[in-house]
């Protein structure tokens, strides 16, 4: 290939060595600039945080079995749910798909040897670890009890917990997000392989592009909001102090300017993963590809204009409520279109129900419910009744856990053979996927019910009429815990005893599958060149006459 002159053309002998074989020392991992190794580092560290957050919420669900509580004080309970929120949102969900799968797959998907700024990529992991270390410090030194939202004046003047270290942790991890975002944006703009035009980008690459946009533009605003409350708490600068003319609501505006788009930071990558998995396991082009792309872009942009729906009862003006309500309804349109398009992708497919597909189907179901209940909360009168209740808790868990985590699992299972070169036990994986779906619904469906009945969130002690729902929810959480632990077992086992996967076990299209598993350091043995549309699972156009079995052909022509 002469179109692209790589200055570091891979030598023949190293071509066979996978990225995993390039050194086995600790420093070869900790000082690596290989996007694939950094992705593995991220995967390991976010897994640790996922289980920290999970254990904490396990305790919370256990405590809530009894309306009067049985092993925590109210202060301990408040610290528990706060740390659950902080850890899960910033140390797991936000980096989850972008920092692991995005890092690993995105450069391969667009045919690049690495991300645009490999050293910045490593730096972003270190920033993540530093932020995480602060959080561990917060945990060990008594916790934080403000909830993940840090509302003043509680956080600035009344809380007796470690607000500032928690804020510093989140602040630093924010920079890690920004670094990743900048890196991905530059990568997608500059390093696409010859022939990889914008409208030949797989939807996962598009989702990484849009999510990077949101990360880069939203995260700094969070950083500033945390800085302001820290300044108020630490130096006594009265920025949000109502007694002298400040306004605590201003914090909420700034905070939600980030934190609503943050929901899209969690869900856009999930949408990308699910699009890949649907196309592969239905062996079908994604229905309405260009609409899917525009939907991602519209969600990313309009997602910035809807933050006020978190503040309908906060003392925001009724006029602003109307504006934000309208915009919130509008941002739901592209989300709905995506659900319809995934469904339509199944039409006339060759559908197989391997584990990644089961997770992806679970995603569509749960995301649909989560999205529709979003409409409830966009309606001002219903939001007034339901906000700050378990209805909201259930709603955002449907999106962030039902949606995002399901898609994360789908992606892990889908790309596992590529990343490790091994196959996991399919049956075990299918069992885990089904258990997760059941456990999830059992956990969060009761929360919708009790929320609408009037159960407020963040309650340690609660009226006993709600006990039955809490018990159901806690039971579901136990099932969910099993479903999250299962993959540790069979995925771990696959590393030792799993079958060799081969280059392309799913017969998938996409450049990442046109290279050995696990891939070599430079990703491709030969610089790839793209000649066709993505998702060429069946021959477009000609299939009309043949009307039979579809042929499988790769997207990339590796010469």
């Amino acid at each position: 290939m002469s179109e692209m002159t790589l200055p570091f053309a891979p030598a023949r002998e190293t071509a066979a060595t996978s990225y995993l074989g390039e050194g086995h020392t600790l420093t070869s991992w900790l000082l690596t600039t290989d996007h694939k190794r950094i992705a593995i580092l991220y995967a390991l560290s976010i897994t640790v945080f996922f289980f920290i957050g999970g254990i904490v919420v396990g305790l919370v669900r256990l405590e809530l079995i009894s309306p009067t509580g049985w092993f925590m004080t109210s202060d301990e309970y408040n610290r528990a749910f706060s740390i659950h929120g902080i850890v899960m949102v910033w140390f797991f969900l936000v980096p989850s798909i972008p920092a692991t799968m995005g890092n690993f797959i995105l450069p391969m998907m667009i045919g690049a040897p690495d991300v645009a700024f490999p050293r910045l990529n490593l730096l972003s992991w270190y920033l993540y670890v530093i932020g995480a270390a602060f959080t561990v410090y917060v945990l060990l030194s008594g916790g934080v009890d403000t909830g993940w939202t840090f509302y003043p004046p509680f956080s600035t003047g009344y809380s007796n917990s470690n607000v500032i270290p928690a804020a510093v942790g989140v602040f630093v991890v924010g920079f890690s997000s920004i670094a990743t975002g900048v890196n991905f944006l530059a990568t997608v703009h500059m390093l696409r392989a010859p022939g990889m035009t914008w409208f030949r980008l797989p939807l996962f690459a598009w989702s990484m592009y849009t999510v990077s946009m949101v990360m880069v533009l939203a995260t700094p605003v969070l950083a500033m909001s945390l800085l302001l409350i820290s300044a108020e708490r630490f130096f006594g600068f009265p920025i949000f102090d109502a007694t002298i003319g400040g306004d605590p609501l201003l914090f909420q505006h700034i905070f939600w300017f980030y934190s609503h788009p943050a929901v899209y930071i969690m869900i856009l990558p999930a949408m990308g993963v699910v699009s890949e998995v649907f196309a592969c396991f239905a062996r079908r082009r994604v229905f309405g590809y260009s609409f899917m792309v525009f939907a991602l872009l519209v969600i990313a942009v309009v997602g910035f204009m809807v933050w006020g729906h978190h503040m309908f009862v906060a003392g925001q003006s009724p006029f602003a409520n109307l504006v934000f309500s309208f915009l919130s309804f509008m941002v739901a349109v592209p989300s709905a279109i995506k659900v319809f398009n995934w469904t339509a992708t199944l039409y006339r497919g060759q559908i197989g129900l391997e584990a990644p597909m089961l997770y992806a189907l679970g995603f569509v179901g749960l995301f649909t419910i989560g999205g529709l209940t979003g409409l409830f909360l966009a309606s001002v009168p219903i939001d007034i009744a339901a906000t700050d209740s378990y209805f909201v808790v259930a709603h955002f868990h449907f999106i962030m856990v039902g949606g995002s985590v399901s898609a994360f699992m789908a992606g892990i299972h889908y790309w596992w053979p590529k990343v490790t070169g091994r196959l996991y036990n399919e049956f075990a994986a299918q069992c885990a996927a089904i258990t997760m779906f059941i456990g999830f619904n059992l956990t969060f469906m009761p929360q919708f019910v009790m929320g609408w009945l009037g159960m407020p969130r963040r309650y340690h002690l609660y009226p006993d009429v709600f006990q039955i729902w809490h018990v159901l929810s806690s039971g579901g959480a136990a099932v969910l815990a099993v479903a999250y632990l299962l993959p540790l077992g069979y995925l771990g086992w696959s590393l030792i005893g799993g079958q060799r996967a081969g280059d392309n076990p799913w017969a998938a299209t996409g450049l990442e599958w046109q290279t050995p598993s696990p891939p070599p350091r430079q990703n491709f043995l030969h610089p790839p060149r793209v000649t066709s549309e993505p998702y060429a699972y069946h021959e477009f156009g000609r299939a009309r006459e043949q009307d039979g079995e579809t042929s499988i052909s790769g997207q990339g022509d590796v010469s």
Binding site: F154, T243, I337, A344, R348, T368, S379, P381, R458
Partner: protein, 319 residues
């Protein structure tokens, strides 16, 4: 405790909200059913290796379907927005002749004071079939008064008034609680909303230990704090006259014009420099450290009474 204390729709507004909730539930249920049904049908019919035909659909049809459901979704959402917004706007149209009850929240209790001067803690007695307006403020952090049976909640903010209006149609004892996380005992910052008939309310009020009403308490404060020294007509100090002030438009020194509502009056007492009235020297002392939120409520009630019943109490000031 009974579930009905939470779930009863105790006002017409609450029933409206329930109707909207039902409508949205039906639409959502239909969409979920449709998507699930389609997915299940496709999974069965197009399972790998099945004999169903697999041809391509024409691109033009694809496009029409795509545009079709985009437009359909858009208009459905527009309709839902219109419905929800009109409910909201109806609720905003404030009725006249309200009973104003003051609520001061603090970690972790609700202090309530009726216009008659009666106080209660963590209990709110209101007459049925009357327009009740809660004027709320917080003494420390942000709280949120949540009345499940009215389908209403509103954050209660420090140094600012927020309002909640309702008209209960059912009598009974309902739940009242805090919905915005406010610290250790957030979950037990609860109480009872007692809706009684207007006659019972009158009886209940008069049965309470004797006390001045809010305006009278405010009047006493007004004198003991020395306000009357400057604000009395004919005082040597040049300070604005407060008669007829409430509800009037005020020209401020920096060119703005504001309506003198509760929030404005409160600001004038606690942050006198924020809204200086045009044509007056900045002499008003700052009372933010020396009066409690409850006392501000009384002072404001008194100043309001100078407008609403401008005959009876005026003499008090003039003296």
């Amino acid at each position: 405790m009974k579930l009905a204390e939470f779930t009863t729709a105790a006002s017409d507004y609450a029933s409206h909200v329930d109707t909207l909730f039902a409508l949205l539930s039906i639409i959502s249920g239909a969409v979920v059913a449709l998507v699930t049904a389609l997915i299940v049908i496709f999974l069965i019919r197009y399972h790998r290796g099945s004999r169903a035909p697999r041809g391509e659909t024409p691109e033009r049809v694809d496009r029409e379907i795509e545009i079709g459901w985009t437009v359909a979704t858009f208009f459905t959402f527009l309709f839902l927005f219109w419905w929800a917004a009109s409910d909201q706007l109806t609720a905003l149209a404030l009725p006249k002749d309200e009973l104003e009850v003051h609520v001061v929240a603090k970690q972790w209790m609700w202090r309530i004071q009726h216009p008659s001067g009666v106080r209660e803690i963590n209990e709110l007695h209101v007459p049925a079939h009357s327009n009740v307006r809660l004027v709320m403020t917080s003494q420390d952090v942000i709280h949120d008064l949540y009345l499940p049976t009215m389908r209403l909640k509103q954050d209660v903010l420090p140094d600012r008034y927020t309002y909640l209006s309702f008209n209960a149609t059912k009598t009974g004892i309902f739940h009242l609680t805090c919905a915005e996380f406010c610290g250790t005992d957030h979950s037990v910052m609860a109480g009872r909303l007692v809706v009684v008939t207007p006659e019972e309310y009158a009886r209940w009020t008069s049965a309470q230990p004797e006390g001045d009403d809010l305006a009278h308490q405010g009047e006493k404060l007004f004198r003991s704090l020395g306000c009357s020294g400057c604000h009395a007509p004919g005082s040597t100090v040049h300070a604005p006259d407060l008669h007829g002030l409430y509800g009037a438009a005020v020209q401020l020194a920096d060119g703005r014009t504001v309506t003198a509502d509760e929030a404005y009056l409160r600001d004038c007492i606690l942050l006198p420099d924020k809204n200086r009235v045009a044509g007056f020297p900045p002499l008003m002392p700052n009372f933010s450290g020396s009066v409690t939120p409850g006392q501000v409520v009384q002072l404001v009630a008194y100043i309001k009474s100078l407008t609403t019943q401008s005959t009876g109490t005026t003499q008090g000031v003039a003296r």
